[in-house]
Symmetry: D3
Subunit: 121 residues, 6 copies
Amino acid sequence: MSEQEDKFNRGVALAAKLFEGAPAGGVKMSKAFRNDTMGHLFGDVWQRPELELQERSLVTCVALIALNRENEQRLHFTGAKNLGVPREKLEGAIAHVAHYAGWPNAVTAFRVLDEVWPVED
Amino acid sequence: MSEQEDKFNRGVALAAKLFEGAPAGGVKMSKAFRNDTMGHLFGDVWQRPELELQERSLVTCVALIALNRENEQRLHFTGAKNLGVPREKLEGAIAHVAHYAGWPNAVTAFRVLDEVWPVED
Amino acid sequence: MSEQEDKFNRGVALAAKLFEGAPAGGVKMSKAFRNDTMGHLFGDVWQRPELELQERSLVTCVALIALNRENEQRLHFTGAKNLGVPREKLEGAIAHVAHYAGWPNAVTAFRVLDEVWPVED
Amino acid sequence: MSEQEDKFNRGVALAAKLFEGAPAGGVKMSKAFRNDTMGHLFGDVWQRPELELQERSLVTCVALIALNRENEQRLHFTGAKNLGVPREKLEGAIAHVAHYAGWPNAVTAFRVLDEVWPVED
Amino acid sequence: MSEQEDKFNRGVALAAKLFEGAPAGGVKMSKAFRNDTMGHLFGDVWQRPELELQERSLVTCVALIALNRENEQRLHFTGAKNLGVPREKLEGAIAHVAHYAGWPNAVTAFRVLDEVWPVED
Amino acid sequence: MSEQEDKFNRGVALAAKLFEGAPAGGVKMSKAFRNDTMGHLFGDVWQRPELELQERSLVTCVALIALNRENEQRLHFTGAKNLGVPREKLEGAIAHVAHYAGWPNAVTAFRVLDEVWPVED
């Protein structure tokens, strides 16, 4: 198996673990971009050791809150839950980021959080 | 001392600790916004327990990278250094966020990091 | 009643007045962020005298158009209507901001305006 | 016919050609902004010779991907198809822009592309 | 004089009035974009009656704060001053918009305000 | 030579060709991000055949205008010049994108264009 295939497979495995139970949202990408995503992003960048996996997940969630990317929040808030990030930490991060990126982003994020990770869980 | 004054003082103390050694950049704000900043943001939001202080610092840095806010990065990258966040963690976060917010934001952030926290430190 | 509770109550009262008749969109926030929103944002910032309430409403609408925040536009365009801001003023602001933030933001805003404040009103 | 009316008519004609078959999305704009859009934007800016029409279409799509403007992508990806821009070129542009504006924008764009220009076409 | 020339001249006159005393920042634009700016934006959009000139100025400043456009703030904060918008109103708008667009934008805006409209004025 | 090293070398060669004569701006990146940039972005994504090199350059410039990324515009406007993209095409793209991303972005871009590619050239 080539290094490229190995990265791709590791990326697919990580994505499956992160997004288990996330709202279905399979997007038909070009083959090249699917390689960028599975091989490079999940198979290489996400696997690096400078940040623990829970930290990467939190970093990703914060970036998506700051950028107001609602659909990707659905995936990565689920990912945070699957990795064991405490819900309180996400709530704290949303309220914190509200002050750096604006209230509407926080309202979006709380709505998504309630949708993919309701409190009763 | 009123609750408001107490928050304000705690905010000023935290900001002094965070930004010690940061490039001078005192901005003349209105009195009301200075209260919002010292009393509400640093004196209340930043003092909440859901995130440890190092985590809040990392969350703030990530939001500022995602938003490409260069001047505030100067302050908060210094803050991360002062709080003991490892430089490698910031480097990892910058490269990670590059994929969610775009390469130019990462280039900006590495430039600021090199400026306020050179490797020789 | 403490100063904090007083602010919170004034914030809740203002939000009720602003958003009367707005599309339902209650979001489950953390308790801390609900305090930030009702106590700090609506109970303090929005109550300050430098801008009249109609002006604050227009300022808020313009910020939300510039930021392309569709859900919050639903609330604050309704708020502008409830406060007596003329519809023509909002229309003029949308077309104006189109030139500073881009056409797509204006198209979004006209769609939301037509939805929450149809011309027949 | 005045110069203004002539521009307006040319703009309406170009928009009709670009957006034929696009998902219905008529937005009620103010009269002034409709003039800005049909007379100035489509009737003047889009008619200028420095860029060929296919190039303008690609430039517009790229800007909308970079800005993550989903609704306008529906119109202009259809426009690119109507003008004969190859689908592969759009796919390549989306994956390319992912690296400058972030992955979530590319995921949005691939979703919209699949919706308005499915591969089976 | 054609309608186009008339608009252009009115636009140049308004821009001269707005930006008198602003930091020099003449930018070499293409001829077409100079026409877009002077003829369409300042000569047409800015001259419309739905908003008074002071209101248009405030709307523009708010959009530029929300978008964090520092250079244009230099011009339009000066414009607000030239038109007689009270400084307190701008200060209030900056602190208000901080909550919708994030703290770093407000810090930028207060810095620019202090630069082009110092309190001692 | 491994596939990774090969990509890295091809990326370095392309970047050298693109950015010849650009304002010096070497940024000290982490080793991992330098690999992401040279190996993945310039060595892989930029080398794909769906877009010609001149088109990739224009696509990149447009994304950077839409995102208002001034420093990267310095590099990529120089790149467009080095690759033989006509200056008029960039001017047309800037004025076009003004309408989708806002006037301030176009003013920034014309300023950078005048700086790295003055008309007298």
